[in-house]
């Protein structure tokens, strides 16, 4: 157990270094964009005096590295500063939106992960049957279509033709949980369709890989039924690659939802990021990107820890 804690500690430290590097890259990428924030805010109608006054008000008259280190100094103490455009705290700008994104990701994950793994087990069990092929073709089709296209197809049938679910996932205060689930069902379903294929196929591949091993052969020879062979004997050894793929897809659920948010008008963090980039709102861009980066780092760490915990050989190294 001590080894795992040490590993987690090391990886978290490394993660912080990665975040620092990412923040530098993001800052200078935003600097490289043509035009500037004052121009973006005031638009076509800006005069030189307007621009100068607004730049001063936003602190843009200082050199780039001074602004970066000013931001970094506060960020170390978890103060991500204020939005340059609206002057609001970054945490208030993206806090609620991040919660919305997390909710949608969890909603999709709660459906997608069990469905993918159960499907994966079933297609491994019934490999090369019609069921296996149909499941593969359907999931591969859904992963190969762009999210917005899947979204529009779902809207066309579930909202416009059959009227079962609302076409837009706008949230309002004081909504009941049931209504919330109903409103966000179509965006969640879109995400499910996008991530299921990857996880299902990895489950299938990992299990089938093991089916040729001698101990599986042994289990079969002693008369264990096929489903039990897979669930009791093969699956425990297949967890490591499956967990990796699940972690990767969970990260995608959080970072890759921009298109889904736009199609379903869902107030998540992706929309905030797009707005912030177009306005060169550096602190907000920075905070959004760091959240995305941290999500990837943490989920990857979780995947590694998970893989170790499910593998006795890694848990008790000689």
């Amino acid at each position: 157990m001590g080894d795992i804690l040490k590993l987690v500690g090391q990886r978290l430290g490394l993660g912080l270094v990665i975040l620092l590097v990412i923040s530098i890259i993001i800052f200078f990428m935003v600097e490289l964009l043509p035009g500037d924030i004052a121009q973006a805010v005031l638009g076509q109608g800006a005069t030189e005096e307007n621009l100068a006054a607004l730049r001063k008000e936003m602190g843009l008259d200082k050199p780039a590295f001074v602004r970066y280190f000013g931001w970094l100094g506060n960020a170390i103490f978890l103060d991500f500063g204020n939005s340059v455009v609206t002057g609001e705290k970054v945490s208030t700008v993206i806090g609620a939106r991040f919660a919305n994104t997390l909710f949608l990701a969890c909603y999709a994950a709660v459906i997608a992960v069990p469905v993918a793994i159960v499907l994966g087990i079933l297609v491994a069990l019934l490999r090369n049957s019609i069921f296996d092929r149909v499941a593969n073709v359907l999931t591969l089709t859904s992963i190969s279509s762009p999210e917005f296209f899947l979204g529009y197809i779902l809207i066309l049938y579930f909202a416009v033709k059959w009227g079962m679910f609302p076409a837009i996932a706008s949230l309002s205060e004081g909504m009941s949980f049931g209504e919330l689930l109903n409103r966000t069902f179509l965006p969640a379903l879109t995400l499910v369709l996008v991530v299921v294929a990857h996880m299902m196929r990895m489950t299938r591949a990992a299990i089938i890989n093991l089916l040729a091993s001698p101990y599986i052969e042994m289990a079969r020879l002693k008369g264990v039924p096929p489903l039990k062979v897979i669930v009791r004997h093969a699956l425990p050894n297949a967890w490591a690659p499956i967990i990796n793929v699940v972690a990767l897809n969970l990260a995608y659920l959080i970072t890759g939802v921009v298109l889904v948010e736009v199609v379903f008008v869902y107030p998540g963090i992706g929309q905030a990021l797009v707005d912030a980039v177009s306005k060169r709102d550096f602190p907000v861009v920075q905070a959004c990107c760091l959240i995305f980066a941290a999500t990837f780092i943490l989920l990857n760490l979780a995947a590694d820890v998970g893989a170790i915990l499910t593998n006795p050989r890694l848990r008790h190294p000689k």
Partner: protein, 534 residues
Amino acid sequence: MVKDQMMLDRLAAAAKDGSISRRSFMNYSMAAGMTATAATGLWGTSAKAAPQRGGKFRIAQHDGNTSDSHDPGTYLSYAMICLAHTHRAYLTMINTDQTLGGDVATEWSATPDAKEWTFVLNPNATFHSGAKVTAADVLASMNHHRGEDSGSAATALLASVQEIVDNGDHSVTFKLDSPNADLPWIMPDYHLPICPANADGTLNWQSADGCGPYKLVEHEFGVGSRLVRHDEWHGEGAYFDEVEYIIINDPNARQTSLVTGDVDAVTLLENKTLGLLGRDPNIEIDNVPSASAIVMPMHSNVGPFDNNDVRMAMKLAIDREELIEKISFGAASLGNDFHHSPAMPYFPADIPQRTYDPEKAKWHLKQAGVDSVSVNLSTAESITTGAVDLAVLYSAQAKKAGIDINVVREPNDGYWSDVWLTKPFCVVSWGARPTPDVMYTLAYKDDAAWNESYWQHERFNEILLQAKAELDDAKRAEMYAEMGMISRDEGSSVIPYFPNFVYGRRKNVRHTGQLAASWQLDGARGASRWWFEG
């Protein structure tokens, strides 16, 4: 004509008492010489036209951003413009018949030299906080945009204002350094709502308090807002109990939400799907000529555009009708190379329309002493829908006149800082301006910062200044007609068309049939002017 008018009056009466169906009404009115749109509008006004109170009006609104702000000086997005007209109020407003009406101000008058304007405030105007609107609030609201340290985008509009005085009798006087007969027309500019003043004379915009028809109860930038009726609203209308704006930036999602009935009205429909949407029996589309414009300025101080014959050739080598049909799917009004839209006051309707004439264009090129010209036309997709296609189609049309237009696609970012005013020939989209004077002063006056074509014309500038000081409407109209003629024939801008405002609503949402042309959604006031049919 008179006979047609009598017929229409009878039809309107029949519609009102319900003795005629919508279909026959449309048939008869079109027989009497009305266009389909006008007939639909008349049916709307006549049939059961009495507005009814009640209901929650949900609007799918485009162009809302997380980075928007309640600061009127930095209003930029259409979402904020629409919201501002719902929870805040202005000194004056554009009526549905495009005339100027009172809002917070009930009447206004000028001294004969048009250098001092006095606005009398409505004694009933009340902020949502309960406080009455005072002259001090008006002063703070205007001063917010004035002075050198103001970061407001409306500074230029009020540049000629020297001083604003509180007269102590619930009225304010604007003192100008030069005559301006149009000052009351500038007051509906979306940057100039009346907000409460702080004790030190600065503006309290942060509270989002306003004196408009609806009070903001829930609001998140880039997501939406919920408003309830302000019972002390000083104006007419405000029929809905509640208004909800839902920000939907994706055009497809906006249209779908209207089709499924998730919302009652949408701003900005895509022209290319209008035909399909129009077939839905539950949806009405409003297609309103606007004062916004697509302009292609040519820098008249550089070759080859320094020769008026070349400029004439450029203007004759464009087939506006084809552009309107193919680029904006019919939802636009013809341009005539002077920046004065039919939706603006004083429109000179008798100036002959310029048509596509490659032969005449060639003749002009010959006058200029050349057989052909080759120019670069800069454009970017973000200027307007189809801005690149527009340039490509123009280029193909101009080939027949021996003009070689090379279309240069510029990056969307930084277009206004790096291309506009810098590249000698580019595509520009202009938002609606209230009067020809504002438009000409902004972009055609010899010393204007945004004289985008660097055009200098002595006579034009002379009349422009005269017209500013002229309080007699008939004389002003004559002056604008002459200015229109000059810029049409000697100006340095090709103006292909004025895009229409195209928006939609569910059938049960009614309006008077007349729509203000200043903004989307009935001059951004649909929320307080429209109603649900019972």
